[in-house]
Subunit: 244 residues, 2 copies
DNA sequence: TCAAAAGTGTTCGGTTTACACCCATGG
DNA sequence: CCATGGGTGTAAACCGAACACTTTTGA
């Protein structure tokens, strides 16, 4: 009870914590959801896959640290990393989550369009994209973090316009639909999806000059850009309650 | 406890942080949304209202710290505090959010049924319920935290069964409806609300022995308990995009 | 007897769903 | 010409909004 005297902070109550950020970075590669993982080079969990991340520096917020780590430790180019959607997930603070010391970690989820293989820009030559689900057990509590992140992303597709974060600046409605299908693991009806998206103000904006792009075979599709809307009301519920 | 280079952790990067929890505790009192606030007894922000909270202790998780502070610093009885719904909101880590030192705070939102006036159980004789919106500027970044918490609660009413957390163990559908109306600030159609809730499996369970309770005037209403469902699919969207 | 709240029924209009069909392109 | 994906149309099913109406209590 006296641990937190309102008159200033009780020095006895001030325990030093290390604060880190952990990143669950998702992208779509050849029709599958992929996660960016790094291989640990030291104990504990040496050799195991882990989420990229690192310490929050004295002068920066967790958001900033996440953005910095995204560029730094993942080996993605600065401009690539800067364009990614990044959002805070939640904080993991179990006292035993790191066997060495007390570490509290603020987890983030990041999404981007088909991203390049991480270049060894820094100490992250050991970074790689792995199809979600094929990674073995991860280090620390990263399995739980990753599962939470995936669940959050799937859920946010339903009631936000987040899906465009998985797409390049200009995209077709077919590509947008594939985002949903890939993350949810269910096929969607193409005509209905199209109407739903176009009927939501601000979800997508048609690209002016009627340029069209071919996805290989089939009729060329109109191009769109992400709109300024953030919420999707009414939501686009995934069929059933199934998950891939 | 010192950061060791062999871990892959840069020792220079390990900065000690203080980690705290801050609580946005909501309840409904006479038809209004109230927040539990404490008055600060020391600089900075001496005399200002603030969210209750305190340090995370060396051996506990943030969740546990939040639960402990809920009982301890708020002056609510242990059994009362134990029954409250508690969930993590997000973490606030701006380097300047506390002028004295580097403090990272994990914010929580807590909800409970009509709660008693906080008893001065400890150093919290200065705790009080204030109708949401009537509190002046709060200490630190607590205005932002409180606003985020309120927004989150309002949003979660739409697609979760969270509303029952504002109700006593047994409640009428009228009381449940008032939760929505109070938090959202809009009236709902009684018949439609009733059907919607009853049509959602696991939202509420009727109390066995057909007991009925009077809310003063009017026909006695059937009693229900919270069900085991957590999600509300399809969601119960608030009318328009309005907020009270 | 009236006001207030619970509970039931019904209508109407929009949204979602399912599926048929044409268009444009590459092979 | 055919396979493939884009785009339009449409009818049935479903769902939610609105509102009329009955029931049961306290005042």
């Amino acid at each position: 009870m006296n641990a937190q005297a309102p008159d200033g902070y009780d020095p006895c109550a001030f325990t030093p914590f290390a604060v880190t950020v952990d990143l669950a970075v998702f992208t779509l590669r050849d029709g599958r959801l992929h996660v960016l993982l790094v291989r640990r080079g030291a104990e504990p969990y040496e050799g195991a896959w882990a989420l990229p991340g690192g310490f929050v520096l004295p002068h920066e917020s967790a958001d900033l640290a996440a953005r910095r780590e995204l560029a730094e430790e993942t080996g993605l180019s600065g401009s690539t990393a800067a364009g990614l959607h990044l959002e805070q997930l939640r904080t993991y603070s179990d006292p035993d989550r790191d066997p060495r010391m007390r570490v509290v970690s603020v987890a983030y989820a990041a999404l981007g369009p088909g991203l390049p293989e991480p270049r060894g820009g820094g100490d992250a030559a050991h970074a790689a994209w792995l199809p979600y689900g094929t990674q073995g057990p991860l280090a620390f509590d990263h399995d739980a973090i990753l599962a939470d992140a995936r669940e959050r992303v799937g859920a946010k597709l339903e009631y936000t316009c987040l899906a465009t974060a998985f797409c390049p600046p200009e995209f077709t409605l077919g590509e947008l639909r594939q985002v949903y299908e890939t993350v949810w693991g269910v096929p969607l009806d193409r005509p209905n999806f199209r109407r739903k998206v176009l009927a939501t103000p601000g979800f997508v904006r048609p690209v002016e000059g009627p340029p069209r792009r071919t996805g290989g075979r089939g009729k060329p599709a109109a191009l769109y850009r992400a709109g300024d809307a953030t919420a999707l009301r009414p939501p686009l519920l995934r069929p059933e309650g199934r998950e891939a």
